[in-house]
Amino acid sequence: MPRAVADGGRVIACDLQAETFGVRPGMGLAAAWAFAPQLCVWPYNQAAERAALEGIAAWMCQFTPRVSLQPPQGVLAETEGSLRLFRGAAALLERIRDGIDQMGFSAISAAAPTARAAWWLAGAGREVLVPDRAALEAALAALPVAVACDGPDALGLLRDIGVTTIGELRGLPREGVARRFGQALLDGLEQALGNAPEPRDFFMPPARFDAQLELPGEVTHAAGVLFAARRLLVQLEGLLAARQAGVRRFLLVLLHREARPSALEIGLASPGRETERFVQLLRERLAVHALVEPVEAIRIEARDFVPLHGRTVDLFGGAQSGGEEGWARLIERLRARLGGAAVHGLGLHPEHRPERAWRPLAPGERPPPGGGSTGARPLWLLEPPRRLKEKKGVPHDGGPLELLAGPERIESGWWDGGEIARDYFIARAPSAALLWVYRERGTAGAWYLHGVFA
């Protein structure tokens, strides 16, 4: 379906499919619908445009700290200092184009020795890389004057005197140009050529990430959500790289038409920022999440950035030691799918009540040093204890149990409401299994099975 964005009855942007029907930016909506009756039109949303631009700028900050916004649709970056790190201007430009594509945007990118020249080249649709000042003049000379001067009056006047390119404009006498078109036009030319400095405000990448993406249509399956989320996660990675930070968790919010938004929290075992890692975790999480309703838009939120420096390669170029990192990733994947409580370590807890003599440990948490020695304890603990039948005072579990050792009396916990008073025995079942059973102290003490000596 062809799509376009319109503001005040005019098309201001359209996709390739709409262009094949003959729709063009600047065209009236009525004319556009005449060309393409099925054209799907969105109202122009300035805030969303600004947010997208800032998202791209934040992502760009991973390549250089000197990124500047050129609203409404431009981002400029000074990459001189980063060329060596990213192996040259051509490789860097390629990487930027690739990233913008992955974020789901399309852009025209150009590189030149001055910011203004690069902006003009991109504005004229020239995807070129001008290597030095010597080549700059020739590259600019061929550009249409429209990139340099705004205002239809000046443009009309220039056209009337037969000036269509920057080169021709430079050929005119300076005083006359300044008088007719204003000093600003000449200043712009000098800045583009690098003869005059052009101070710019630099963009500061924000300390948190919050980006929303409207889906082109309602999505009913997890794969579609994942595809869209990936675009935002690429953006997140760029921002995190720019801030030399990582996150321990992030939030995916699914926005529906009717139902309340559903939020999925993804936790990481160790701070990270790699898109692929995020996507993998999200895939596992989405696999077990049932979509209550079709999804209209998604939002990804991440805050609490923690410092995380780029991975350093060791002296011989090897990757980091696989074991620990691989283990952390494994835990993180298991938790993403099975739930946070499904994976835990075991620790001792100084406590007499058997069910409280241990506690689950979060992954990575070191167990406290061990408690004192106790009587024999079973390897399996039943939680909760299972009530046993009793016949003639003898506990039964598939037959009468034979008490072999005991009792070990455990009475504790009167102070916190979890009071127990039990006599524990080691018992043998007819099946030869050794069981850990107890009888509640009291008049009609019932028998319970609490553990198995496996």
Binding site: E325, W380, I426
Partner: protein
Amino acid sequence: MKTSLADILSQRSVWRGGALAPEPGRTVPTGFAALDRELPGAGWPRGALTEILGRREGVGELQLVLPALAALSASGRRVVWLAPPHLPYAPALAAAGIDLEHLSVVHAPGRRDALWAAEQVLRGGGCHALLAWFHDIRYAELRRLAVAAETGRGVFVALFRPAQAAHEASPACLRIAFEPAQEGLAVHILKRRGALLAKPLGIKIERPVHAVGGTSFSTPCARGPVARPCPA
């Protein structure tokens, strides 16, 4: 040219029925000399499946693997207990010499989740022993796990399954069945890389009481079938 029989036999291409496949460095000693003697490579195989089949729990089946787990965890190797039927009890594990720092428990509610988790653990790296409990698992799924175990870096995989599984085909390279016996367990090696073993092995394992004859050694107070209440 005359070739002696010994020359032929010394070639790796000839396998003699009575011999065990040598697997140097690819095993974990079980801690039971009698069992080590009968296992190829003198220990639990790594990078392959081991099945431990038993009819009932509570007869000391976990004791079979505990010495190996204790040795692994003591040297800083990670051990994962996947989908255990009950809660592994930390005080007993610590008493058995297992370093709890290197032990993780993974609960998987469904069969599919458990299989997925097992494969993730085997392929993920960073884990050196996996104990998993499966009630029913199909041949194709076992096969998948076996492949994952081979790609994993030398993980000792012990699958605990019910005794009925002994009649099903399995890609595991070692299958043993146990049953209670005097002084411990009788272990049948159903399958190994090598000749069949007809006779069950008697393995002496640690029990909390000397169960022979039903005599209690810790407290004489509870002798007999009925526990007399002790004076408080």
